[in-house]
Symmetry: D2
């Protein structure tokens, strides 16, 4: 049995995390923290009635460390890099769901997030928690940087073909579409129902922070400099990300060749399903699966990947990482 | 040509009003005000690009009066009753879309809105702007209290049968369902897309401020004390209200009798359509129509009414009132 | 380990059933049938890729009986009463998700479904599978009539207050709102996205087949003749039912009294949560919970209940019944 | 006054057309036809109650010609090319909303639509009804090929930069997203609410029939061979298309240069608005506007265009064409 704490537990990702962990036979949730809320967990998350009998608390890292073995840190960026060193010092293993430990270069972090990184020495060494690529490095780690939702979708779409040298590493276009839950639970006019419903729009064109994250991880994974154009869109649905990725094959390759390369790459990965049909976000909703396929159109390979941004894109992969660092079966609580 | 100003023009109702007025051949919009915004109207309402070349201003009633003949007041309640006397003093006719002049009794106002009414003498004398009931009193008025959206739906459903003495005035149940735009453009967590989508819930059970408004107007219109239970629900859609109303017939009456009474009541009303099928909010979306029908089930009459809360429930009826006070054809810009 | 077959496995309820059963540690799905489909289960349900490796088959009851111990019958009504006797004769236990065995009187069945019941002797004796009311009669049964979705919501809302004699058994109004998945997977114009989205409407007013089912079960459960008016509405969302129920207290009772009666009634029931807030369908989405509360408004008790029509309203309660007849823990695979 | 008939009037485009034409001061709708329906128009389109008092009829071209001056042909492709020559022979002007007269090469038509074109001589000579490009050729024409919805969005996005030689004509990627109404009113499982809602997916990758239409028109308009990859997606909303278009600038060009070229191109076009913000489909919903902007990201120009697929993408542009051929003001009934 592993005692688990969740820091910053009022958001959607934390809620999803609690739902999954409540199904985990080896987990006891022992503490949930919030900077603003003090009531019972059900005051914010009524869906947890009779499921979890905890109240939000304000706890120091030391107090958290006394009560728990692993901490899922769901704080926003900046707040996270202030907390994580303390959590580690208090003896916990940490899965950080913010962006603070994903980039390996403090300069790149500062450029995209507008803050000096206060824990730069850990940047290069922290494992990026995408188990399909770095699964063998995760077991036993103290700190895992849980990936972004757009990032996971894009990387899972591109890694096999890049690693096999089947597509050019530059000029890649990622046109991504996400449900609204990915934007979080902050009261902003542009996230109101009456603004988002019956509408689609692009945002952050050329400026979204997941772009450097995608480039870094794909470059690392494939041993070459990968360069992408990333365009996110907001779609009127709760959950789901679909990435439509356009890349140039390095030489003549059939759709079948590309599909085979993808199938081989993910042969022993339980949560990526290479399919022949065009996948829908609905097919993976409320699951930890990422469904992927590829088409050839004229001289382009078009890779299409879907996942549930709250699960495989956030809370699910966090539990997958948890299972790996704690050496539980990778799929526990996730099927 | 009538010069028109809109006070409090950043919200959804004001946007809808501008869209309709831009189609009105006898209207020129001359001023839009806001307490917080100063930019071009398109900075808040991009859909008005190349349609309206005005910026939000902070204007006194006098300044508004110099530029315009009629003012649509879209301020929130309390703010409205501070502004309306000044607008009238500045020589404008006023259509007030807030709740401040709808109730005739200052004590009832204070009880439900928690504020002392500062313009109580106008309460009893202001005409309630539901043209299907009070259309003959509206032409030439200086001030019109534009009705609430739930209120219009409920009153239009009940007035014919109550006026004809065909249903009991007490024990009436109004189960109403509304799209989210009715809640306005304020950044509140409970109005976020990710909260409202894929969900329905009741709210304000027994405490919604439209309940006394419905009772007052139906009592006035039918000459008896009408008593209703009103339960609103929030439905995942932009627009539309559906009211399902349960009432007891006063004597044996067939569905046909009730339908005939409704048809007669609305025979010369251009915007209420008595239909035989069960109407959908979609049938009246983006129109100024209210569609109504009735069914008998066991010993109950079930009246069902639908309208677009932003149009017939707010901006459309406001223009209908405007047409009447200015003696334009009632349907101008509304078909 | 129990071997399970699903008859009529192409619909939404069957899909949900498979998803739940795949999490059940004591279940092996051994056969899925269809009258029209012959492909792999993923050809119809792509979300089951790598989860279930079965193809749709056309199998006799005997063949099903050789492969399985329990059959979930997901056929439409009429087809179901033709199949169920054969399934029982082949030695299986059967959970029937159609309406064919829910009503106890063949005459009432014929009146509402327009077909003579061909297996009338089983009608009176088949247990109605609502475990919160009839849980002690279910263990060991051969055949269970799984309840309708509107029915479960309505009955769970009303049973405690009726059983305690706190509300009048007549004049009850049930205003119910459902997501679209409840209408099934048939290609009908009125179920198209472009028809249902951004719209709400009532249907089957006074004629919906769940009305006699609600009356029968509530009469049985409370020992008095219960009479309801039931009005269903279609709401633009995938899942969820909300019932708003209006009833007259038999004597002066506070909201607290009614709430207490409900809490006592469901004290040891794992899947009904009596809450103090107004529940949303979102709070119970993708769970087997039914959340209930009550309000007093003037002289009426207003009970509000929500559940996920696909789970607690269909597939989840079917597995709950399965657990009971097979004497597994009632909550297995359902938390 | 122009007498207008609508052939094939049961679909969504025809409904939208009727709504717009009912606002047109110079139009009388004199006939609506259907191959299957015979009832009053409100039996299929309840939103037209008290708006249009016509019933669906089966009429020959001659009969239509006796009653009307202009026919909007809303038949499906193939049916349309059978009807159009007869309509023309009966003396009417025709606006054909099908794909039958859009492609100029009968061979290309046969390749993409799988039918031999039976009216090939008209293919080359029929004007493609995109008024922003071919507006000077439309007045006085007998037959107009009304453009596809994806096509209009894509062409309006690309024409200015291609015509100005600012982007390469090859390697263009069009990633398009559409609401569900574009798929029509046919009862198909994949168009059910429960299939489309809460989901996004790509379809017709590399095989969608709007791809050759886009290429042909852009090649014609810019005098060079244009080659695009077109990927459509289905988005859970009623209306709206957003196209995100990726192209390579021919030389160093700033965002401002590209924006200026677009503004100049559309300077005198009333229905294309070149904007600086990222447009949302909601901004143009229920209007005949197309909103467009451009961004530079690394070495790519990203053009984003939105329109309402039912209006600017179908019925609205049809009325715009109607206004032009009848020499009414281009914007009549469309603002």
């Amino acid at each position: 049995m592993t005692r688990v704490a969740i820091q910053g537990a009022t958001g959607y990702t934390a809620l999803e995390l609690m739902r999954i962990l409540l199904r985990h036979p080896e987990v006891e949730i022992t503490a949930i923290t919030s900077r603003s809320e003090r009531g019972h967990v059900t005051s914010v998350h009524p869906s947890l009635a009779q499921r979890l009998d905890l109240s939000f608390e304000s706890l120091t890292a030391e107090q958290l460390g006394e009560r728990s073995d692993v901490c899922f840190c769901c704080l926003p960026h900046v707040a996270s890099m202030e907390s994580v060193p303390q959590l580690l010092a208090a003896g916990m293993k940490v899965i950080d769901l913010s962006a603070d430990y994903r980039l390996s270069d403090p300069g790149v972090y500062e450029q995209w997030y507008g803050h000096v990184h206060t824990d730069p020495t850990r940047l290069g060494s922290t494992v990026y928690g995408l188990p399909e690529l770095f699964g063998d490095r995760i077991p036993g780690e103290e700190l895992i940087a849980n990936p972004g939702c757009y990032t996971s979708t894009s990387i899972l779409a591109l890694a096999p073909l890049l690693s096999a040298g089947l597509i050019e590493p530059t000029g890649i276009i990622i046109d991504a579409k996400s449900g609204v839950s990915g934007a979080g639970r902050s009261p902003k006019v542009n996230l109101l129902y009456a603004e988002c419903n019956e509408s689609i729009h692009a945002y952050g064109v050329g400026t979204h922070r997941h772009q450097p994250e995608i480039e870094q991880v794909l470059s690392d994974a494939s041993g070459q400099t990968v360069d992408v154009i990333f365009t996110p869109h907001l779609v009127p649905m709760d959950r789901g990300i679909l990435a439509t990725v356009y890349a140039k094959p390095t030489s003549v390759a059939s759709e079948g060749d590309l599909l085979t390369a993808m199938q081989e790459f993910y042969a022993d990965k339980p949560f990526v399903r290479v399919v022949e049909h065009l996948p829908r976000t609905k097919d993976v909703a409320y699951t930890n699966y990422c469904d992927i396929t590829v088409r050839m159109s004229k001289d382009r390979a078009i890779v299409i990947a879907v996942l549930d941004n709250m699960i495989k894109g956030a809370a699910g992969v966090a539990v997958q990482n948890f299972n790996l660092i704690c050496r539980y079966d990778e799929t526990t609580a996730l099927l």
